[in-house]
Symmetry: C2
Subunit: 339 residues, 2 copies
DNA sequence: CGCTGAAATGGGAACGTTCCCATCCTAGTC
DNA sequence: GACTAGGATGGGAACGTTCCCATTTCAGCG
């Protein structure tokens, strides 16, 4: 059986089968119907015996297309990212592309490196969800006709399609729900916004709505790794005298996790103090009375990203104006917003 | 600025800089010190102006090495897998390799497909964590001198290094802890074991220890998507008359999630009924009195996998006998095992 | 019965690299 | 001052494909 120390080449298969390499190439590039049944049989048998696999490198080189989609993920350990990635992968697969994922750990240096890598592999399209501004490199890519789609975060200067949550609607839904449940004084917690446009947008809308609706509220941004600071911020908010029930709004899943920890440390009863998080997580239904969330349709977002890419790939001539594809969140009302 | 519709090639850079392509190649393959400072400057400038990036396809083709490590993951949405993957990625990066991850969704067909894909890209090593038995394909690969390392699950017939948790030790630690906390009657819940050796091993050890230690207990395997069945199984166990406190042992993170849901549905008080899960998850500290877990050192496992790969890659001559690298779990005692 | 055209097949030149082997130059040696 | 060793540089042949053009064969047809 398996014995050849080196991978067989198309030429060896051709020789073994007594046919030309062109025919073997045809066999493996989906042009089988151009081959006589007899030849197909011969090739199949030889290839099988030799354990031949087309070399994708050579293929990509010659044909100029890698059949590869690249994805840059800011944080692979974020379940939201993974869920979207899953959608992206499915869609790629469905269209005969493979996905090459790079995790950047929110590190601009890694973003640059990985971007170079994906470029080196000549990915035909790029799904980008990053923190920093590798704007320059991305612009260059875009200028070279590599389709680009931004995920969840717009990158100021880069002109490309963008797929993500309808943040305004999400905030509106959240506030409407909280108000309907009788909460009158709100604290919106977010990670620092400099790096991610969606955070800015959520916070911006939050402030807008407060003004417009005459709700009481404030926003705070802090790095999640400083648990004491977070506890202090929350305690400060809760201790303030007030005449309406208070609630916390978490701008994303990571925040929800950190805030939940902080609330437990502070011995706060959920529901009495409201809690609503953007992003649905496995465990939100499990904690205490259940944590109310706004779920993002992650798979759909992933698929939409790929669709957008493929569309541009199909019609490279007319560079359609860049679009925004926004999705509606779904409210999972649970005990944490029931008084 | 960015204008070239097509990527520049090494030849164009060479022409632009007035040097030979060989020199440009040297510049980009880490042989800069062989070039005079003047030449380095000229090349750098031309390459920068033209936006040149080495074509990894051509590189891989010619040099015969792709600088790529492949990883096959059974379930990308499992936090354990992701954590290990993170370790793998870091290690690859540290050694100048890139990682190509394929998620198989526990589907043998996808396993086969993705394996073919990775083969086509001529990955230099493969980290495998799969459910099915693409044994044949994997064997072929191994026979072709592609280093292979199995993650968490041994594949019966495939001879390769294996990295994972020390399952015997994990079960021992779990049982010792449960007994020390006064639980005397145990139910070990697992997903179906056919596909994953680690599950078999955990269950096997559990049964062994029961016999040896004279503990009361039983094991049950079921698919997690059938919540009612799980609830029935658990209710059955809890309703049985007994003279010692009862506890549940969850064989992995997914099980812990499902069991926790079931327990809530059954309105069981954690602690009174013990609960211990293998795999640490974000939320285990958050639920009720906290869920006791056995944490796997995921990053270390990932790194070990890559190390093992690289070791074999470095010495392809002497095919060292395949090893097992096992890691010790860490106990996080929490309220769910305190009576 | 020679002509046309389609279907089946094969030869060879790319694709963008790397790397082996020159070639050229300069400084050091006797 | 010829001789050499070694450093800097360049030319060209691969690597394993695809794809453009042949070339061959043969059925159909006026």
């Amino acid at each position: 059986m398996a014995d050849s120390p080196r991978r067989a080449t198309i030429l060896e298969v051709a020789r073994d089968a007594g046919v030309s390499k062109t025919s073997v190439s045809r066999y493996f590039s989906g042009e089988r119907d151009r081959l006589s049944p007899d030849m197909q049989r011969r090739i199949a048998s030889s290839a099988g015996r030799l354990g031949y696999r087309p070399n994708q490198m050579a293929r990509g080189l010659k044909a100029g297309r890698s059949r590869l989609i690249g994805m840059l993920v800011a944080d692979i350990r974020n379940p939201f990212s993974v869920a979207v990635m899953h959608g992206v992968e499915q869609a790629c697969r469905a269209h005969g592309f493979s996905l090459m994922v790079c995790n950047t750990d929110n590190d601009p240096a890694q973003e640059r490196d990985h971007l170079a890598l994906l470029t080196a592999y000549r990915v035909e399209g790029l799904v980008v969800n990053v923190t920093g501004r590798p704007g320059h490199e991305l612009e260059a890519l875009a200028a070279q006709d590599t389709p680009l789609v931004l995920l969840d975060r717009a990158l100021g200067d880069v002109e490309a399609d963008m797929v993500g949550l309808d943040n305004d609607q999400a905030i509106d839904t959240a506030l409407d729900h909280l108000r309907a449940q009788g909460y009158g004084e709100l604290l919106c917690v977010s990670e620092p916004t400099e790096q991610a446009s969606s955070r800015q947008q959520r916070l911006g809308r939050f402030r807008e709505r407060l003004d417009a609706d005459g709700l009481q509220g404030e926003a705070c941004c802090l790095a999640l790794d400083d648990a004491p600071a977070l506890e202090r911020a929350i305690a400060g908010f809760l201790d303030r005298p007030s005449h309406a029930p208070k609630a916390l709004l978490c701008a994303n899943g990571n925040v929800t996790l950190a805030v939940t920890r902080a609330l437990q440390a502070l011995d706060v009863t959920l529901g009495e103090t409201g809690l609503l998080g953007i992003d649905e997580l496995d465990w939100c239904a499990l904690v205490a009375p259940g944590i109310t969330t706004l779920a993002q349709p992650t798979e759909a977002i992933g698929r939409a990203a790929v669709d957008s890419l493929l569309q541009r790939l199909a019609a490279p001539e007319r560079p359609a104006p860049s679009r925004q594809i926004l999705f509606t969140p779904e409210l999972n009302a649970r005990g944490s917003t029931r008084r």
